[in-house]
Symmetry: C2
Subunit: 625 residues, 2 copies
């Protein structure tokens, strides 16, 4: 059960030609990656690898460039580009040159503060940077077959393995910012060297044990551990061993990365205790701590979680990286258990809180993704802490990997989108061709090309949690969904022949969505959703102040695809009411404001702030009638 049952179909075998992802992938490759490389050059993140460089840089500079290399590597896999490859090779040369004889590699702690190496794992991100470099090296090796970067990182991993562990003489440390754990699992898969899996497991198992390593190393630095800036090791998921974590807490990105590693190791090492912890955390996150956009982390104060059912909208942090991390975690859990609850959250994050992180032109980025703003909050070209831009780039470059999984005689379709994919079923190659306008339309036609005619296998199609009514046909014959849907997937087990056609119709009306009544910030408020897409009002589409608009309970709402708006999106339009300020000129308190009719036009949340940084609102007051 725990043992990983399924494997994601790699993005290299998935071609998307849809209207949602395909344009974004092109923009990502052609515009975003170039823009980001330019920023890395400009800010010194490339030149930091020069051994002569003594610039005072961020301790986590290495990680941003690493994520850019990873993203570029994914792009090279599908679109070779000698110029980009040369850039990366040059960087790898610098890295190799800078690497210490013992394998250590970190541009900051070699060039700027060598005396601080491994002195402050709690705060200084060394292993986090190492992890991102490992992920980049694995990706680059997969894309180009070139080993140099991978070899450099294996030497570094070997050094880390020699430095940390429970064996006598080793430090019993782990990183304040998780990341290396999941990276080591990738390195293990790429190299088949079990040492890396064992090291990943050490980092996961050691975390939060007493005597607490962060206390010990603080004392060794002559500091009082109580002076930890964030006060509690909850901040970095290290207040107790990870198997005892009771609820999501602390820095949201860190949480997602360690949870993802826990899911990895649960599958790799058949560890039910890690899966149990994941289940507990999943339930707490998805049922009590997740924005409707798939944004997570309610507050900027810890870049993370607050408390159950607390979902402030205007001050929502909902970091782009955190939603990306949520995709990583949910995708890993989905390979252990093909349960629609994981795919529903993954889809929610992908189509909303992740993609909102980058502008349609690919040049500007959100760090935080609030659910409402009075205006003045727009995307930036770069950040002092630039984690999000390259993170969203690597996600989009490899988004195809989230669409399908395979396992033995099963092939799973998690997401819908026009395109074509190849995958292994029963040892042969299965091709699936999707014809659909998803996410703007719920009709999906899948043409099946099995390895050979009369192939027996099971095709599992996800019936999304947002869908109230679905129908399914195979070669024109309707199947009874009630009989074949389990855990959100319709399992079609049959003998397949070339050209078999599956038709799935996911009814996709405009939905009024409400939050749990314990979410005090949304009490009396409604959000609009259609299919997986969450909507918002932007001021630019309204003459009335959108903060004064209320939705009549019975107002008709219609959906209309507008090909010229925001790169082509479906809009939701309808009648609403706006509170009038008439008679309120000279007073702050008075009688109930008059409500006057108005029109609303809602746009997908993921496309907001592409027409200026005006006011925006997801949750709208509902007016019962």
């Amino acid at each position: 059960m725990v043992k990983r049952n399924y494997a994601a179909v790699p993005f290299t075998d998935v071609k998307l030609s849809d209207r949602f992802w395909a344009p974004r992938m092109d923009v990502n490759r052609i515009i975003t990656l170039e823009h980001e490389y330019g920023e890395c050059k400009k800010t010194g993140q490339v030149d930091a690898w020069d051994s002569a460089s003594k610039l005072n840089r961020h301790i986590f500079y290495d990680s941003d460039l690493a994520k850019w290399i990873e993203a570029a590597a994914y792009s090279l896999a599908t679109h070779p580009n000698p110029e980009v490859e040369k850039r990366i090779d040059d960087i790898v040369d610098m890295m190799q040159k800078l690497q210490m004889p013992d394998g250590y590699l970190n541009s900051y702690f070699i060039n700027v503060a060598p005396e601080k190496r491994w002195k402050n794992l709690r705060d200084e991100h060394e292993l986090y940077c190492a992890g991102h470099l490992m992920e980049a090296a694995v990706a680059y090796h997969q894309s180009t077959g070139k080993r140099k970067f991978l070899d450099v990182m294996c030497r570094y991993a070997d050094h880390i393995d020699a430095t940390f562990g429970v064996e006598p003489g080793k430090k019993r440390g782990y990183c304040g910012h998780e990341e290396i754990e999941l990276a080591l699992v990738k390195l293990y898969h790429e190299t088949k060297n079990e040492k890396y899996l064992k090291l990943a497991r050490y980092f996961v198992d050691e975390r939060g044990k007493e005597p607490h390593y962060f206390n010990i190393e603080a004392q060794e630095r002559g500091e009082d551990p109580k002076n930890f800036h964030f006060r509690t090791y909850d901040y970095c998921q290290a207040q107790v061993p990870v198997r005892e974590l009771a609820r999501v807490a602390g820095h949201a990105v860190r949480a997602m990365y360690i949870y993802a590693a826990m899911a990895d190791l649960a599958g790799e090492t058949d560890d039910q205790s890690l899966l149990d912890a994941c289940d507990r955390l999943w339930e707490n996150l998805s049922e009590k701590n997740m924005y409707i956009t798939g944004g997570i982390g309610q507050t900027a104060s810890n870049e993370g979680f607050t408390f159950d059912y607390d979902l402030p909208n205007e001050t929502a942090y909902a970091e782009t990286c955190a939603s990306i991390g949520l995709v990583f975690w949910s995708h890993r859990l989905l390979q252990l258990d093909c349960d629609g609850k994981y795919a529903d959250v993954m889809e929610r994050a992908l189509y909303n809180g992740v993609v909102s992180g980058v502008s349609l032109d690919g040049k500007t980025f959100f760090y935080g993704n609030p659910l409402e703003t009075r205006g003045g909050y727009g995307r930036s070209e770069w950040f002092g802490c630039a984690c999000c831009p390259p993170n969203v780039a690597r996600l989009i470059a490899s988004v195809g990997q989230y669409v399908y999984s395979v396992g033995g005689s099963e092939a799973m379709v998690h997401l819908y989108g026009q395109g074509e994919a190849q995958m292994k079923v029963n040892g042969g190659t299965l091709t699936l061709k999707q014809k659909t306008e998803y996410p703007w339309d719920g009709r999906v036609q899948i043409t099946v090309e099995p390895p050979k005619d009369a192939s027996e296998f099971t095709l599992k199609l996800r019936i999304p949690g947002w869908c109230r009514k679905a129908t399914l046909k195979v070669n024109g014959s309707t199947l009874d969904l009630d009989g074949i849907v389990r855990k959100g997937y319709a399992a079609i087990g049959r003998t397949w022949n070339s050209g078999d056609v599956v038709e799935l119709n996911l009814t996709m009306p405009v939905e009024r969505v409400y939050a749990h009544p314990a979410v005090r910030q949304n009490f009396g408020y409604v959000a609009l959703q259609r299919g997986p897409i969450v909507y918002c009002l932007e001021q630019t589409d309204h003459s009335e102040d959108i903060w004064r608009i209320a939705m009549p309970e019975d107002g008709e709402l219609t959906a209309r695809y507008a090909k010229d708006v925001l790169g082509g999106v479906t809009l939701i339009e309808g009648d609403a009411l706006a509170a009038s300020t008439e008679g309120w000129e000279r007073k702050l308190y008075g009688d109930s404001p008059k409500m006057t009719p108005c029109k609303i036009k809602a746009v997908p949340y993921c496309t907001w702030a592409n027409r200026g940084a005006g006011a925006m609102k997801v949750w709208l007051r509902e007016e019962s009638v």
Copy 2:
């Protein structure tokens, strides 16, 4: 017009025997003042005056004890107490002993950091402490006739006058925390020494001028002025000269104190430009930046103002001291122009956001007064920064002064409350006796005892802004209010005889109050008010989670006086709806929650958190029907 037209009737001439203030004044005198003196002893605020004391204390320690002395002095004026007087005399002896030969007097900057004297007016509160000591000295002189404290403070004021000013050789400084300005006006009134009025005017006039004194002194300390913790001199109302202040900004208590001094000086020196600034600021405050409770200062980050129509409820700062400062300011403006708009705000603050600052037992205090909480927020016995407890004590001890004003042949009644007062009209003594259950009932009977029979003067009775329907009778004959009400006051000009009876009936139904539609936090929400009293729901009175309660638009609400509840208050009761969590066990988003009938019981906001620190809410979602 600017020239002060009216004078408040001193609290020593106003006896309140009502059910709202009289018990609070007793508790204040018997319990609060004793408790606060105990805290001042315990924390070293008394012993700080010992010249041998080198304890590392707050730079503004002096001010808390000064406010306690002022409060105790007010209490002594009506209830002599040799023990309390002895305590104060002992403290004054210590002060006199500590005072420097040049008149300087500050326990911190004499005993602890003498090298820092007058080096950092921006941050270090020296003149603020001096101001509170002056107010205390004036109050103690008024109460006891003893001159020693007053003389000490005059010597200090003389030293300050010799140190600061535009004359060559003087520092052109002023305090980052205003207070001394209004204190010097009081000292001028008590001593008739115009030097002090002139000095007050200098501090007001100099504030915010360029080159900026705070920049100059920062540079003299070797600091970059840009490193000012609060970044902008808006924080202390010093970014521009006070006459140019466009809107309320910065630290709310500081703002109120300087605005009060501006009103003082407008009247004292016939300065229309200061009154114009006050008018502008008043309009901005009362029409765009004031909570329904009379709380002001929306955020903890600057202990002050944010932006127009921003009135967050749960994170409202609404410091007790700020509402007290608002009373000071509005009361001063009311003496310049008998306009009900000032008295309405003064009353709103007094009966709600000020009195909420102290528990009914007089032993615990709120610093911030939020308009809603999820619970866990209760009053404290004392604070590290203990400004609020003695501030509310001096306010309550002298609350009688806010009830009446006189001016020439006019006597004004601003507030209603059972009791009796003497005041000068046309050179003779007028006695007014109020018989009323105000604020729990709107019927007020005033018996007039003029200086002599057949006295001609005008009695002005305030018709509160909250009242939609009032009737007025004199000796049983109804007066046409439309004809005699101007600026919120009914002016009864006639020949008065002993025993004339005025009957004012202020209709006092339960009111549903709404905020300006631009207040996004209250859109779709309603508050309950009856007379001047703002209500709230407390969890302790409800089995349903009060955060999930909605008020049906047409629900009947009834008022009932409950003598055994919270010391005797009028409750508001009625039918409401509560969102059910039924069916929401395992999800965060779904269909509209079911609303189930429930009852509500609302209590006066000023009495909340006297039965444990549970959840509380002023603004309630309204359900249209």
